[in-house]
C-alpha cells in the first residue's frame, strides 16, 4: 500500500517485535493490531472507549486502543494480551489467576480486563491514587489494593456476563 496525503508508514513495536506498516490515518491502533497484524486478542466492544475490551499497554500504560490513532503512535512500544506471557511461555500471573478464579463467562472482555489489571497493579505500586484512596495517603508510598480499590480502578472494563466478583478475586490474588 502506497503512502499519500491520507496514509503514512509507521513503525510499531508490538510485544517486542518491530512492525513497519502503512496505515490509513483513520485506523485506530485497535484496527491495526487486529486487521493488519493479526493480533485479535484486543477486542472491539463498543468502539467508543466505554467498555474497555480494547485495552492494551502503550509504553507500559493501559489505554483504550479504539480511541488511539495508530499514526500518532510512531515508535511506541505496545503490549497486547498476546505478549503478557513470560519468556518461557508461562502465563502471566494475572492470566493464571483469571483461570484459577474462573473470572469470565464468555471471555470477550477478558483480554481487556487482564491488560487493564496489569496496568492498574503497576499504577498502584507506583503510588497513583484512585477516587477511593484516602487523600491523606503518602504520595510516595504504594497504594494497597482493597476490594474497593480494585473495583474502582477496574471500572473502565465492563463485563456483560457479570463475572465481576471473580474478576475482583483474581486481581486481589495477584495484588497480595
Amino acid at each position: 500500500m502506497a503512502t499519500d496525503a491520507f496514509r503514512s508508514d509507521v513503525r510499531l513495536t508490538v510485544n517486542g517485535t518491530v512492525h513497519e506498516v502503512t496505515v490509513d490515518h483513520r485506523s485506530t491502533l485497535l484496527d491495526v493490531l487486529r486487521e493488519q497484524l493479526g493480533l485479535t486478542g484486543a477486542k472491539k466492544g463498543c468502539d467508543h472507549g466505554q467498555c474497555g475490551a480494547c485495552t492494551v499497554l502503550v509504553e507500559g500504560r493501559r489505554v483504550n486502543s479504539c480511541l488511539l490513532l495508530a499514526v500518532a503512535h510512531e515508535a511506541d512500544e505496545i503490549t497486547t494480551v498476546e505478549g503478557l506471557h513470560g519468556p518461557d511461555g508461562d502465563l502471566h500471573p494475572l492470566q493464571r489467576a483469571f483461570l484459577d478464579r474462573d473470572a469470565f463467562q464468555c471471555g470477550y472482555c477478558t483480554p481487556g480486563q487482564i491488560c487493564s489489571a496489569v496496568g492498574a497493579l503497576a499504577e498502584a505500586a507506583a503510588g497513583s491514587p484512585s477516587y477511593v484512596t484516602d487523600p491523606g495517603t503518602d504520595p510516595a508510598a504504594p497504594v494497597g489494593l482493597s476490594r474497593d480499590e480494585i473495583r474502582e480502578r477496574m471500572s473502565g472494563n465492563l463485563c456483560r456476563c457479570g463475572a465481576y466478583p471473580h474478576i475482583v478475586e483474581a486481581v486481589e490474588d495477584v495484588a497480595r
Binding site: H25, R26, D47, A72, G119, E123, Y131, G156
Partner: protein, 331 residues
C-alpha cells in the same frame, strides 16, 4: 470517518502555523473525545495537527509558589502528582472522579478543558442540535434531558459541560494559558467556558487556531482544605449528575476564604459566587451553609425532568463544606 491529513507539530509555533495553513484543521491531543466525535461524524477535520508530543508535559512549581501544568500532562499523571495531591487535593480528586484509568492515561489537560458535551442530541447527526448545527433546534429541551442543565441555560441549548477537572480549576482560580498567532494570553479558568446564550456552538472563549499550552494554579499553602464530591448513576465511570468543588479556610470560627463550584448543572463549571459572598466572614455552620447554597440556587431553572438536581447539588456542596469545616486547621 472522513479521510484526513496527519501532521505532527514539534513546537508550539509550528502547531499554530500548521493549523493556520490548513483550513478545517483540529489539534489532536490524547484524542479520547476528538477521535470518538470523528467516528460519529460530529467532527470532520480535513487535517489533524498532532500536538501530543509538544514539550508541554511538565508540572512545575514557579518561584512565586504557583504551579504550572503543561497542556499535555495526562490526567492520571496530574492527579498523582505530589504537588497537586498535597496543595490542590480538590483537583486530584476531581480528575480521579472522571472517566476510567485507561482514559485518564491518554487524556490531556488541554483536551480535558476542550472536550465537548455528552448531550446525546449533540452526538447524534440525525437529531437537531444548535451546538452542532446552529439553527437546527434543540432536541433535548422537550426530549430526554434528565442529565441537562439547571442553571444558565438558554432557549438554544441546555447542555452541560462534562469535565470534572474544570470544576476544580474554577474553584482554584486557575488561569488557562493560550498561544495563538497573535501571541500569548491567559484567561481565568472560571471565564474560559461560556454560557450558551445564542451561540451554543461556542463552548469556550478560545479563538480559532489558539492552542491551550498550560494551566496556572495560584499559590496554595499545603493543607488548605479542599475537596470534590460527585453524584452519578453508577458508583464509578460515569459523568456527573451534579458535583461540587470546594476550597475552604476557617480561622477563629469565621470563614476566611471560600470557593465553591458546581459541575454537571450548567454549560460551564458554575462558580457559586453568591454563596461565597454570603459565607465569607461568617460562621462555618449548617445554617450558614444552607442559607448560602439556597441563595445561590434561587437562580435555578430546572427542566421538566431534572428538578432533582437542585437539592442534589445543594446537598453535595453542603456535605463537602461540612467535612472541610470539621477538618479545618485552627490556626
Amino acid at each position: 470517518m472522513k479521510p484526513f491529513q496527519y501532521l505532527r507539530a514539534r513546537t508550539v509555533e509550528e502547531a499554530t502555523t500548521l493549523y493556520a495553513d490548513h483550513p478545517g484543521a483540529r489539534y489532536l491531543g490524547g484524542g479520547t473525545n476528538l477521535v470518538d466525535l470523528m467516528k460519529q461524524g460530529v467532527e470532520t477535520p480535513g487535517t489533524l495537527v498532532d500536538v501530543s508530543r509538544l514539550p508541554l508535559g511538565e508540572v512545575r512549581e514557579l518561584p512565586d509558589g504557583s504551579v504550572r501544568i503543561g497542556a499535555m500532562v495526562r490526567n492520571s499523571d496530574l492527579a498523582a502528582h505530589p504537588l497537586v495531591r498535597e496543595r490542590y487535593p480538590v483537583l486530584s480528586q476531581a480528575l480521579l472522579a472522571g472517566a476510567s484509568g485507561q482514559l485518564r492515561n491518554a487524556a490531556t489537560t488541554g483536551g480535558n478543558l476542550l472536550q465537548r458535551t455528552r448531550c446525546p442530541y449533540f452526538q447524534d447527526l440525525s437529531k437537531p442540535c444548535n451546538k452542532r448545527a446552529p439553527g437546527s433546534g434543540c432536541g433535548a429541551r422537550e426530549g430526554v434531558h434528565r442529565d441537562h442543565a439547571i442553571l444558565g441555560h438558554s432557549s438554544q441549548c441546555i447542555a452541560t459541560h462534562p469535565s470534572d477537572m474544570a470544576v476544580a480549576l474554577a474553584a482554584l482560580d486557575a488561569q488557562v494559558e493560550l498561544h495563538g498567532r497573535q501571541g500569548e494570553r491567559t484567561v481565568a479558568a472560571d471565564a474560559f467556558h461560556r454560557l450558551p446564550g445564542d451561540r451554543p456552538d461556542q463552548d469556550t472563549e478560545i479563538a480559532p487556531g489558539e492552542l491551550v499550552t498550560g494551566v496556572l494554579l495560584p499559590p496554595a499553602p499545603a493543607g488548605l482544605p479542599s475537596a470534590y464530591r460527585k453524584a452519578r448513576d453508577r458508583a464509578s465511570y460515569a459523568f456527573a449528575l451534579a458535583s461540587a468543588a470546594v476550597v475552604l479556610s476557617v480561622e477563629d470560627a469565621r470563614i476566611r476564604y471560600v470557593r465553591i463550584a458546581f459541575g454537571g448543572v450548567a454549560h460551564r463549571p458554575w462558580r457559586a459566587r453568591r454563596a461565597e459572598e454570603a459565607l465569607l466572614g461568617g460562621a462555618a455552620d449548617d445554617a450558614a451553609f444552607s442559607r448560602a447554597l439556597r441563595a445561590e440556587l434561587a437562580a435555578a431553572e430546572p427542566l421538566r425532568d431534572n428538578a432533582f438536581k437542585v437539592p442534589l447539588v445543594r446537598n453535595l456542596a453542603h456535605d463537602v463544606l461540612t467535612r472541610l469545616a470539621a477538618a479545618a486547621p485552627r490556626h
